[in-house]
């Protein structure tokens, strides 16, 4: 093995499959009704989705890795797996350092609670103690710059404010590895500039960032490395310029393959 010491994330032969049933929720009632006819019906209503297929890549410390791909390419699933939320079906992920996530679903926020309470809960779940949270708190609120809204229930927030708070929390967790999924589009131009600056600052401290984005401009501007995924497979790894160029060409040429997926 070459020196793994400067590797932040190592993904080896990763497969993630999950079973999904056609009914929205699996219910005991449904299961009881189906008991007699297990062989016929249950097979039809369960489908195995292969979200990530045999993906391997390494991410070195200090890298900003952009992940591009059409909808349904398995990008978010891959991010969740790296965060340790979804277990791999096969293969192995080795993560060296503290991971902080900024995932599309909104960082576990309870909309009835104020921004302040949500920050506290998010930090506590991440394993920080009250003292650390007190220290971080001012930095987070200052960065998110929400004014009075910080003490109002989060259901009163606009989606931009939501995204700003989520971003502020995740970058201030002192992450060694930051995972960002589609969240940069939330803020306005000024906040975008601020968040780019913050991410560059994290990179300079040799932190590692993984970004999933459809904004190819963002990928080119921020990333030092990029991968392109399609239908669960890793198509190519390379420089951001090269990957975005290839991906754009694929979008134009391979339209027939993608029209189904509402890009």
């Amino acid at each position: 093995m070459p020196s793994d010491s400067d590797l932040a994330v190592k993904v080896e032969d990763l497969w993630i499959r999950y079973r999904t049933s056609y009914e929205a929720n699996q219910t005991l009632k449904g299961a009881v009704l189906k008991l007699g006819k297990r062989s016929e019906r249950s097979k039809k209503s369960v489908r195995v989705v292969e979200a990530v297929k045999d993906v391997s890549f390494d991410v070195h410390n200090g890298t900003v890795l952009g992940i591009v791909g059409a909808n349904g390419a398995g990008k978010s699933t891959l991010m969740r797996a790296v965060a340790g939320i979804l277990p791999p079906t096969e293969g192995r992920i080795t993560v060296n350092g503290r991971v902080s996530t900024l995932l599309a679903l909104g960082v576990g926020f309870n909309a009835m609670l104020s921004g302040r309470e949500n920050i506290m809960l998010g930090c506590l779940a991440a394993g920080l103690d009250m003292e650390e949270i007190q220290q971080k708190y001012d930095e987070i609120t200052e960065f998110a710059d929400l004014g009075d809204f910080i003490d109002l229930p989060m259901r009163t927030y606009s989606s931009g404010m939501y995204g700003r708070l989520a971003f502020a929390v995740s970058v201030h967790m002192d992450p060694d590895i930051l995972l960002i999924d589609e969240a940069l589009s939330a803020g306005d131009a000024a906040f975008k500039e601020k968040s780019f600056a913050k991410m560059r600052e994290l990179c300079d401290q040799a932190r590692t960032i993984l970004i999933v984005s459809h904004a190819l401009g963002t990928i080119q501007e921020l990333c030092t490395d990029a991968i392109w995924m399609h239908k669960g497979e890793l198509v190519r790894q390379g420089t951001p310029e090269q990957i975005t160029e290839d991906y754009l060409r694929f979008l134009k040429v391979g339209e027939s393959a993608l029209t189904m997926e509402d890009v």
Binding site: Y18, N25, Q26, T27, L28, K29, G30, A31, R80, A81, A83, G84, I85, L86, P87, P88, T89, E90, G91, R92, I93, T94, V95, N96, G97, R98, V99, T101, L103, L105, G106, V107, G108, F109, N110, M112, L113, E117, M120, L121, G122, L124, A125, A126, G127, D129, M130, P153
Partner: protein, 313 residues
């Protein structure tokens, strides 16, 4: 493999983490417990803020904590004393008090189960976005249940005090005939509450896991709890239950008490509050065994499956 094994031991730690496939197996127990303990404050704050959010629309909010069990006790009082026609005036009021303390106790475990059952499915967003020991979620429900339980104790003490003023007393051990005055046996109360909470946590972990796989569990649970209440020594004392079932088939009474995970612990609660005597050793042993068993079994059942939750939500 040795490097993988040593790295796996440090799961949840801030250094190297390895995520590998698993098959309904336990994660390393010690780091799990350490991380659980480190984040205990999270469980408390989650309970506190969820409570706050739940009371957001209710003008009298937390008054319901006391009002709920009181109204419930009143309904059962009507059911048992008035409709069944067994109103022997004074015994009627003392048995009302017995029903009230029985129901207050029952509400603690029942709420551990019912709130706990939804804890994982309700925490969906948190589970999908953060990696932390999931057993904190049902633990948080148990904290909520305990927080709701405390205010009912002073309420009962006031009622009990009034009962002592207006109702004739009977000596300890004859609770079925009237009201027994306070005795030193009440000092057992914190110990028994601890047993109840441990039992409730075990059951909460079992039901919350079942809810992840079968969402209808919560709907069945409300009926299960109602039936469970009637099969437990809550509305009537252990001795009356044993007598009743033994008429059908002699050992049935004991089976009904000791085979019920909540039977012994509710029985000893009855001992100290209604009969004014120290917990019967057999019941106390039964309560401790059930608490230990449910905590270990529930913990295993939950923790060995918790890494699957994110896929199921």
């Amino acid at each position: 493999m040795t490097t993988a094994a040593s790295a796996r031991r440090s799961e949840f730690e801030s250094s190297i983490q390895v995520f590998e496939p698993h098959r309904a197996s336990l994660p390393p127990v010690r780091p799990y417990l350490r991380e659980f303990w480190r984040r205990r404050r999270f469980a408390y704050e989650l309970s506190r803020t969820t409570q706050k959010a739940a009371n957001f629309d209710s003008p009298i909010g937390s008054v319901w904590l006391v009002l709920n069990p009181l109204l419930l006790a009143f309904v059962y009082f009507l059911l048992i004393e008035v409709i069944s026609g067994g109103a022997k005036k004074q015994a009627g009021w003392s048995s009302f008090l017995h029903i009230v303390i029985g129901l207050f106790t029952w509400t603690l475990v029942a709420s551990c189960m019912s709130v706990g059952a939804t804890s994982v499915t309700a925490g969906g967003k948190l589970i999908l976005n953060q990696s932390f020991p999931r057993a904190l979620l049902p633990f948080s429900s148990v904290i909520s249940s305990l927080m709701n339980y405390w205010p009912t104790i002073p309420v009962y003490l006031v009622m009990y005090g009034l009962g002592l003023v207006f109702l004739p007393h009977v000596p300890p051990g004859q609770g079925s005939k009237g009201l027994v005055g306070p005795t030193w046996a009440l000092l057992w109360h914190p110990v028994l509450v601890a047993l109840l909470v441990i039992t409730g946590y075990g059951l909460a972990m079992i039901f919350s896991t079942m809810t992840v796989y079968f969402r209808d569990t919560t709907k069945f649970l409300s009926y299960v709890l109602r039936i469970w209440l009637y099969l437990s020594p809550v509305l009537y004392p252990v001795s009356a239950m044993v007598e009743k079932y033994d008429k059908v088939w002699p050992p049935l009474g004991k089976i009904m008490i000791y085979g019920n995970p909540l039977g012994p612990v509710l029985g000893v609660m009855n001992d100290i509050w209604v009969e004014g005597v120290s917990p019967s050793p057999a019941l106390l042993a039964g309560a401790m065994l059930w608490a230990a068993f449910l905590l270990l079994f529930g913990g295993w059942f939950f923790v060995s499956r918790e890494r699957d939750f994110a896929v199921r939500l």
